[in-house]
């Protein structure tokens, strides 16, 4: 694991409301390059929203997100970016930040390999042949070498999620976001996907993982973020969180473990 202390992602005073409901309340978090951070907490605590803010699928209304010291929220004069040009530039960021969703969101009208090569062709502007070559390699990596020409409706939930992981990895992202990726899976398929993420964690890629799989989170993550009611309650190493004296953390962990 080539974890560094170089701050890679900085989340500064991030807040987000849906109507009068504050989903994210002044979030501050720094993630180092190569670090695996698990975000845990009860449902509705804002974990997924925080993750989605990082690739701007959800827009925060105040605060700032920086990748490698470059702000993607505020311009040099401290004003919030907006407009068409900014929207376009987000696609550059998003192709560097892979995301895997709870509901897989594989493209049902495309085969496994077409799902994976699409970003390479349209975003990375690769030729069809070299894109396909990479796509096949990525599918083989996630154990779907024999399914490359299948449409998603012929795949199990676990296989769909592997396609989704391969699709994100194909772009060689510098950060991976996992949003409760095992929550829609049948129990017997969960282990395989977690194994996939664990393997990825060992490659040194920076990852943020929102999960309800506590055993997994404590095993794989370098640091654990515990969120409740839109706030970060506590951040610490797995050991620190496990032995936390913070009453809310204790209550959550004792209820779930």
């Amino acid at each position: 694991m080539n974890r560094t202390t170089e701050s890679y992602i900085e989340i500064i005073n991030l807040s987000k409301s849906f109507g009068s409901h504050k989903v994210l309340d002044n979030i501050n978090l720094t993630v180092n390059r190569g670090e695996v951070v698990a975000i845990i907490g009860p449902s509705g605590s804002g974990k997924s929203t925080l993750l989605r803010c990082l690739n701007f699928l959800t827009r925060s209304e105040s605060g700032e997100i920086k990748f490698q010291n470059r702000s993607w929220s505020l311009n040099s004069e401290g004003k919030r970016y907006k407009g068409k040009k900014y929207e376009k530039s987000l696609s550059e960021l998003r192709s560097e930040v892979g995301m895997v969703f709870q509901n897989f969101n594989v493209f049902p009208h495309k085969t496994a390999v077409q799902n994976v090569e699409l970003g390479l062709i349209k975003v990375r502007k690769m030729t069809k042949n070299s894109a396909r070559e990479i796509a096949i390699k990525k599918l083989e990596q996630v154990g779907l070498g024999d399914k490359i020409n299948q449409y998603p409706d012929k795949l199990s939930g676990g296989q769909k999620q592997r396609v989704a992981i391969a699709r994100a990895l194909a772009l060689e992202p510098r950060v991976m976001l996992f949003d409760e990726v095992t929550s829609s899976l049948d129990p017997e398929l969960v282990g395989g996907i977690l194994e996939e993420i664990r393997r990825l964690a060992n490659t040194g890629i920076t990852m943020l993982v929102v999960t309800h799989e506590m055993g997994f989170a404590f095993q794989v993550a370098h640091r654990i973020v515990f969120m409740d009611s839109g706030k970060i309650v506590e951040v610490g190493t797995p050991d620190e969180i496990r032995n936390s004296q913070e009453p809310r953390t204790r209550a959550f962990l004792s209820a779930i473990l």
């Binding site: 690739n55 969101n105 493209f107 699409l118 970003g119 975003v123 449409y151 409706d153």
Partner: protein, 228 residues
């Protein structure tokens, strides 16, 4: 007016005049296809308007849809064909007026079909498209639209069949479509029943063929359902 008892069926008329009817058929198909193309364009515009974030645009698009949908095709055709030339001194050909009238009526129906189709694609598909860095345009083109089209095709064909039959109305402004030819020929031959029946049978076979084609198309496209 002839009474039923005196009417003598003369099916030879068809043998003699079917090439004329066929020419009329080609006009009918041309006008309905051109009208459909116009409907699709108008429908996409109106549907996008209805799905806009701007409330004003939503209101305008919805009102236009409602208005266009409520004008009878016959009246619309009259307004366009005669109204335009009277008011603006700008003459459309009969064919153009027909296409425009069909396009406006069809467009209003298509708007609703497109809107429903686009909304039926789960939001997660758009998010996944954005997440790999696709632009808004690319996401619509490669992800949303190909999935929506599967939902859109059956009702779209319904609208087309409506337009195909609606296209017969252009005979009133003198376009020599099938109905026009049938009426014209029956004035000479006194065999309207045979000629209109032929027209009817042609329409039935056209409609059935289209339905059959769509059935096959749906089966072919049906392999990938709309869900992630």
């Amino acid at each position: 007016m002839m009474s039923n008892s005196n009417y003598k069926f003369d099916w030879n008329v068809i043998e003699k005049y079917w090439p004329e009817i066929l020419k009329g058929l080609i006009i009918t198909i041309q006008i309905s296809l051109a009208g459909m193309a116009f409907s699709i364009l108008l429908g996409i515009c109106l549907a996008n308007g209805k799905l806009s974030n701007n409330l004003l645009i939503v209101r305008i698009s919805s009102s236009i849809t409602e208005l266009f949908r409520s004008i009878p095709l016959f009246v619309l055709l009259f307004w366009i064909y005669y109204g335009f030339s009277l008011k603006f001194n700008f003459a459309l050909t009969e064919f153009e007026a027909g296409v425009l009238a069909l396009g406006i009526t069809g467009g209003a129906y298509m708007a609703e079909v497109f809107r429903a189709g686009l909304l039926a694609v789960p939001i997660g598909q758009l998010e996944a498209a954005y997440a790999i860095g696709l632009s808004k345009m690319q996401s619509s083109m490669f992800i949303i639209f190909p999935q929506a089209i599967r939902i859109i095709i059956p009702p779209m064909v319904n609208i087309y069949i409506g337009l195909l039959k609606g296209a017969t109305i252009v005979s009133v402004i003198g376009v020599s479509d099938m109905i026009y030819v049938a009426r014209y020929v029956s004035l000479e031959t006194f065999a309207p029943f045979e000629l209109y029946s032929l027209v009817g049978i042609i329409f039935i076979s056209l409609t059935l063929s289209i339905s059959g084609f769509v059935y096959l198309l749906e089966r072919k496209l049906g392999r990938s359902k709309v869900d992630g």
